[in-house]
Symmetry: C2
């Protein structure tokens, strides 16, 4: 920590350190509620966790607390009357002289069972002071970071430091199950609850590695396609029909084999041409990033990387498109031998999109490519290629007021310049906030790349938790001080 630390931060950070046991206790109480959004039977627990958070907000002096209902969960669902978990909206401060920051987090979690291989009960937070870890489902994704904002408020109150901004919370309970209903709510509240929002901060991703703090300024999008090839009316026996019928699976494999090469090169004409050219300024962003092939190999548990150089790996994860083949619906997918000729097979693949790809144009190119590849086969079967889901890419100026404030905060708390990263995956809500609220969005991760967000033994390092709270606080102060919005 810097020696020239201003007094208000000294007071605040001291308070954060003092309150560590209380902060951890809040996380422990929250983790103890198994708020698994994908498990319909646990929906009451998700709602219970929302009410727990409301109590916390109330006790901290948040106002205008609203549990926004999102209606019934759309099919497929076992219980057609299942309510979606509410979104928690609340305010802390309402000073027109101050900037307003919306903080997003989610209180639902991934499923977890001890039998999956956890060392401890997943819904009992383990505080391992020796290893410096908080272990439990939601510790890092996203209960720890979400409560971080509440701890920031508490530290200010108890340290007697004025809160620098108006804070608005948008905490959802359905993130792990597709954020159903949230997009509509944001659109609806854009000129309502959210009308004064100047900036959005999301703390729901991770450092690239385990040592260096990062700020995230870009996400790839995802256009997901399927090619359906249909022949006979029902599955046939390969003994009786093999050799005399055009097999949909043969056609499908041919079509899928024309999409991408084993070295990752996308074979659909016109796709690469849509990718924004690399600028010198952008290239420089990669120079200092702390990453290596070893980390990729460790993450994949193999030596099957397509690139060896750090820059190539990161650029192909972050700023170039990729095409993945996910699988086939309708074909035999079990163990052993089944002599079936599947009647209708559906190949699934997706393209991760990046600036400046045009989503609609991409769909056209993909569908045309599949149709042409199928036409070449002269097959009597029927083929249909279609988009089944898309989510836009997101890119921010990593040098705008929010990012500058967060960089300064990182230097203050961690004593290092943060790596400016992007992510290969998508967080669709990022784009929604940006588009609907017309504000800048900052992704400010608290946890590390090895936290195991969706895995067994999910953890959050205690140092990341405590420094993360300080980072959030400092970011709010620096952002409040910045001239621009």
């Amino acid at each position: 920590m810097s020696a020239q630390i201003p007094t208000k931060f000294e007071q605040l950070f001291k308070k954060v350190d003092e309150l560590k046991p209380q902060f951890i206790d809040v996380v422990a109480q929250a983790v103890a509620i198994p708020a698994v959004s994908s498990d319909e039977t646990l929906r009451p627990q998700v709602v219970k966790k929302a009410h727990f958070l409301v109590q916390q907000l109330e006790s901290l002096g948040f106002t205008d607390i609203q549990l926004k209902p999102l209606g019934l969960q759309p099919p497929p669902v076992s219980n057609p009357n299942l309510e979606l978990p509410p979104v928690i909206l609340s305010r802390y401060g309402n000073d027109p002289q101050k900037k307003t920051v919306l903080v997003y987090g989610h209180y639902d979690v991934q499923p977890a069972f001890k039998e999956d291989g956890w060392d401890s009960e997943p819904f009992e937070l383990v505080v391992d002071e020796e290893k410096g870890l908080l272990k439990g489902r939601g510790a890092t994704d996203d209960t720890g970071p979400l409560t971080g904002w509440l701890h920031v408020v508490r530290a200010h109150k108890e340290a007697g430091v004025e809160f620098p901004v108006n804070l608005i919370t948008c905490f959802e309970g359905m993130e792990e199950s597709g954020s159903l209903g949230l997009e509509e709510l944001i659109a609806k509240e854009a000129n309502g609850y959210f009308k004064d929002v100047d900036a959005v901060c999301i703390s729901d991703n991770y450092w690239l590695g385990t040592k260096k703090p990062v700020l995230t300024y870009g996400l790839r999008g995802c256009n997901y396609y399927q090619v359906t090839i249909e022949g006979p009316q029902a599955d046939l026996h390969s003994g009786v029909f093999g050799g005399i019928i055009a097999e949909p699976m043969i056609d499908l494999v041919k079509v899928m084999s024309t999409l991408v090469d084993s070295d990752g090169k996308i074979l659909i004409k016109g796709v690469d041409e849509m990718v924004a050219p690399m600028t010198e300024k952008e290239r420089k962003l990669y120079d200092n990033i702390d990453f290596s092939l070893d980390e990729l190999n460790k993450a994949s548990g193999s030596n099957t990387a397509l690139y060896t150089k750090k820059e190539d790996i990161l650029m192909h994860r972050w700023r170039y498109p990729s095409l993945s083949l996910h699988g086939v619906e309708g074909a035999f997918s079990g163990q052993g031998a089944k002599t079936v000729i599947p009647a209708k097979v559906i190949g699934k693949f997706s393209i991760r999109t990046v600036p400046d790809m045009d989503s609609a144009k991409l769909d056209e190119l993909v569908i045309e490519h599949c149709e042409k590849a199928f036409a070449k086969l002269n097959s009597p079967n029927k083929c249909k290629a279609e988009l089944i889901h898309d989510g836009a890419y997101w890119i921010s100026d990593p040098h705008n007021a929010q990012f500058t404030a967060a960089s300064k905060a990182t230097r203050l708390v961690y004593g290092v310049e943060p790596d400016l990263t992007r992510e290969g995956g998508s967080i669709p809500i990022t784009v929604t906030f940006q588009d609907q609220l017309k504000t800048s969005v900052l992704l400010l991760p608290m946890g590390r790349g090895d936290d195991g967000a969706h895995s067994i033994n999910e953890k959050l390092d205690i140092s990341n938790f405590i420094n993360g709270i300080k980072l959030m606080a400092a970011y709010l102060h620096y952002y409040a001080e910045s001239k621009e919005i």
Copy 2:
């Protein structure tokens, strides 16, 4: 029916006609026992049906009746102490002056539930005199034909006609579930119970169509392969890893696309060269066969046939190899969108084999082909191609003593020359009998091509049932009279 019908057949056939109600009653009693071999909970019913048949055999004067135990059912099985259903061995007649014919049938059936779409309870035989049908699970597969042999004996007894051969039964209760244990039993009894067997007759297949009786002299074999491509240690997220890791699914689709063309042409070098050349004699066998493209289209419910001419269709079903792609294990196979990069995918395909393909040589060619196709990809993933199951093809001389006798019997009963057919699928037990007993095997179907053996509303035409019994009887007499074995 021919006018010059010999007296013994006149007596016999009259008796068969007279006994029709009794014969149907036996089928009805047998069908009423839900002997589903694939349903472990119904295993006692399978055994009950064996005992019912033993009672029938006893009452007809069969001797040396043995319920041969086959031991415990091997895994996968829920109950590790589940006994396989017994094989019913028995004799009718033991005259060293007579030829000995082994008749094979199976008393187990496919699963059936009214909810599947049956018009009636599947395990209650419906005798529809108007449509001339027996409807119920097992009517045609294989309870009707199996009991046919018992009815042949009864007709002889009641008509006072001397039985022309020594008959041995080999009735199993596990055919619909892989004939577990039967191969070993046949091998064991080859020089035991079966040591005097001169010929084997199996009535467990069907006419090609609905009008013309057939004798079946060939079956294709099946070599089933899998190609496993392995990369990362666990499934990965396509957002995080797409574009920087070599995807096993991309490699697999490339390898699978090199195996066969959309027009059915096998692309593995050396396979076609192993196929026995067509002789003029063989080609002529196809001339009169009653079949058309329409029948194929009706069966597949589509217009996706690879050939239009009858001869081409039948030759490619019967005497040419085919390669079918069955599916992929380990990839995403569900509905909707899942952004997974599968870590390990297993492509499944099989080749239907024909004379004179060498099974071991074929395995070599296939494995080498896959390895070469994968090597071309320069992928860092691992690839393994292997055989996981094989069953030999079978071909008989359609003009030998048994077939000649059966042809003569067909002319006598149906007044037409039977079509000499092969089948595209395999009946592994055919090869086992031929190899172990060193005898000729005849496939003498009773039912029609549209009986719906494994479907809903399985039926056997009453005319096929009654004429089938006469056919079995006449075949035994003509075979008994033939000079050669």
